[in-house]
């Protein structure tokens, strides 16, 4: 996973952005991809951390980066239900 502009140790770090959380990579491993999109479009994933935070990941051509922590009401309902169910199982 590419840290994008969120990694404070990277020369590409954007100080106006949230710092990359330490669990971004591990949450990505179980993140759910947004489906039903046009062929050839980029990828978007949502994941849920152990402490209940929702993360978004954006990508193009296999290169994915953490793109922010999302409020629960900004995670698509169907994906949130899957993430919450996975957490509870």
């Amino acid at each position: 996973m590419n840290p994008g502009t969120h990694d404070p140790t990277s020369p590409n770090f954007n100080p106006r952005k949230s710092p990359l959380p330490s669990d971004a990579e591990s949450v990505y491993a179980n993140a759910i991809k947004v489906g039903d999109r046009e062929p050839g479009t980029g990828t978007l994933y949502f994941g849920k951390s152990a402490n209940g935070k929702y993360y978004r990941y954006s990508g193009q051509n296999g290169e994915v980066h953490w793109s922010g922590e999302m409020a629960p009401n900004k995670v698509p309902r169907a994906i949130k239900k899957q993430l919450d169910h996975t957490e509870g199982s």
Partner: protein, 187 residues
């Protein structure tokens, strides 16, 4: 500091336009080229013009909205107050603390997905923004708001959104590929 090496606006910003930048550090990364992307609606900026992201993340989502042009005729939404129309389309996709007024009239929430423009899958470029498109035979209404703000409406000829977005996306792809490869060829 971010160094834009190219910026371009497509459309008439006093009606509807799309503007993008390509940022210096990202030119070798096509199609993961980084930059900024925002909209102009009747002279107002819609989106986070201070965001830097993979530009295609935004364009792909806007393009998906564009190709659904002609599928958004809905008398219920067309006749509803702006905030009710926005609320129910957002409710269809996302969780909400309260059920909006029109929800009880919607048998299949997924039927409202095509009306959502923002945030949809645009990523960080439009965090905090919500927008929908409604259509009749001749015009389309773009209804939008920034989080917790009042909704605003703009109306323009049917197909304007599709035309401007597709032109802007083409311009971006051409520019980004040229910067990386020196060739304008489009696959």
């Amino acid at each position: 500091m971010i160094q834009p090496i190219l910026s371009k606006r497509t459309g008439n910003r006093w009606m509807f336009a799309v503007e993008f930048e390509i940022h210096f550090d990202a030119v070798k990364a096509w199609p993961a080229t980084w930059g900024s992307l925002w909209l102009w609606v009747e002279g107002r900026v819609v989106g986070k013009a201070d965001e830097s992201e993979m530009v295609m993340t935004g364009f792909d989502s806007l393009h998906e909205v564009a190709i659904e042009t002609g599928t958004r005729a809905n008398p219920l939404l067309w006749g509803a107050p702006l905030h009710d129309a926005l609320d129910v389309v957002m409710w269809a996709r996302y969780e909400s603390d309260h059920e909006p007024a029109l929800a009880r009239l919607i048998s299949d929430p997924a039927s409202l997905f095509p009306f959502e423009v923002l945030p949809r899958w645009t990523g960080a470029f439009f965090d905090g923004w919500e927008a929908i498109l409604l259509e009749n035979n001749t015009s389309e209404r773009f209804i939008y708001r920034q989080e917790s703000g009042s909704p605003i409406e703009a109306t323009w000829p049917l197909g304007t959104f599709r035309q401007v977005v597709n032109e802007a996306k083409y311009d971006f792809e051409k520019a980004a590929r040229t910067l990386v490869t020196g060739s304008e060829s489009m696959s």
